[in-house]
Symmetry: C2
Amino acid sequence: MKELSKLLGFRKEIKVVDATMRDGGLVNDFFFDDKFVQRLYQTNLKAGVDCMEVGYKASREIFDPKKFGKWKFSADEDILAVIGENNTDMKLAVMADVGRCNYRQDIHDKKSSPLDIIRVATYVNTMPAAIDMIEDSKKKGYEVTCNIMAISNAQEGDIKIALEMLCQSPVDVIYIVDSFGSLYPEQIARISDLYMEYAVKYGKQVGIHAHNNQQLAFANTIEAVGDGVNWLDATYSGMGRGAGNCSMENLLGFLRNPKYNIFPVIRFVENDMIPLRQSGVTWGYDLQYLMTGLLNQHPRTAIDFTKAGRTDYVEFYKEIVAQD
Amino acid sequence: MKELSKLLGFRKEIKVVDATMRDGGLVNDFFFDDKFVQRLYQTNLKAGVDCMEVGYKASREIFDPKKFGKWKFSADEDILAVIGENNTDMKLAVMADVGRCNYRQDIHDKKSSPLDIIRVATYVNTMPAAIDMIEDSKKKGYEVTCNIMAISNAQEGDIKIALEMLCQSPVDVIYIVDSFGSLYPEQIARISDLYMEYAVKYGKQVGIHAHNNQQLAFANTIEAVGDGVNWLDATYSGMGRGAGNCSMENLLGFLRNPKYNIFPVIRFVENDMIPLRQSGVTWGYDLQYLMTGLLNQHPRTAIDFTKAGRTDYVEFYKEIVAQD
């Protein structure tokens, strides 16, 4: 059983990462209004958030800039124009996907960028490409994290090899990612122990990025906190792909470090997230996401079901059960 | 750390209790359509649910029968008329609150009733009255459970005395109840250990009834499963007072006993729960419930906020923070 002190005290090493514009951007194709972004930035500062992820560094060759908002590409000049130079303790981050970015060109030297952290996202089987990206970003002066995605579909033996490779790279933080929202807290405890074993040995930190398919994003995040995981992703109102993520209001309500403050979060949800939902942007727990989570499948079928405005859950269940 | 076998295997002692009409009835004043009730009953049978709670045995002197649907009172003749004699393995239950029922008159001998289980609900400080009710129901031939409500506001020393008193009564099952939805899984683990200590010593079973204020109803329920708790309350779509309960679809997706079947649950949600929501009946996680949960307060202020159609979360937060 975990120590009671962990619930009433706090670990100063914990970092809260706001991933609203990045994972949430997957829901509205990154079309966030500049004023929304500025208020989000101010809210994060007031709430004590440690890092704000502003979007992806996606390739303009692979993704048509006419079809996406600017935060799909997160150019330094756009960050400077909307957010500014960010002379604060809060760090700015972007995510860069293996195979979907031109990192050599698009990620500039840290000296000339408002960004502080590059978050590399990879699958287990693209680890060498991820390590090349990690090395490139480290040389350019950034802090670097690495998300190993879709681990619920990977073999434990392969995950161990990936962790060993990653730990020998200059990466700073390794993320547990429950891409399909299929993991239970007991499994998160085991995975955290595995990641922590490597992290402690090699002097790395561990993070968690959870999805809410089974209404467990927050529960899995605080399970990981109890297991020594320090970097915690959350989004306002849980905004994120499909069933969404761990919600910032839940997480800051839980954390006991007095630097965190839930009041600005409540205000932002009232003033900005509720109108965003009312404008027709849709995310969050629903039966179709529970089903893909239970079946350990990518939520793309459930996202299509949602977009089509379908509510014939029974038919959907028959469709995805037969997909193997 | 819990045994991996607990996730892949199953304990045959686990009982799933459908509390939709009882806790859900608090949302629509127990005005369930007879056809809805009949389909719910058939769905529970097909889903492998072990016990269906049909409502309360409330006093007709305290509660005006004109203002509530029949499941507030759950008369034997109403159960017989709508559900029938229930010649199945699934048990029928009602809840009876200390101080809000005329149990001597309204609970008849089991021989002449379609009911199998009486669920006594009490606060820590009304334990002698609860034990009188337990003894009365046991004498009449029922299985009896006891919910100790609002334990997050009670002293641990008082809870221990209450458990000792209860364990010396003829009660069969003692329920952990997170009335305010304020408890985290780590706390549920500790409380489960405490209840299990008494239960094992006195040959009782332990159950859990969770609320979803912090999006933890399901997480807390499966935490308790891992700690040896066998009686699990759930409701379709999580329908229940305020933020609602652990949802049946989440729970049956988690349990591995092949007797449980999620398919009829999905169908019932599609055909009956979605229309119920669309008719204007409102429940489920929202920011106002998170706030009362975080502050360990009864959700009544949040329920009023919801009923008034308010979305000024910031004002609400100021109101309830100042309530002490």
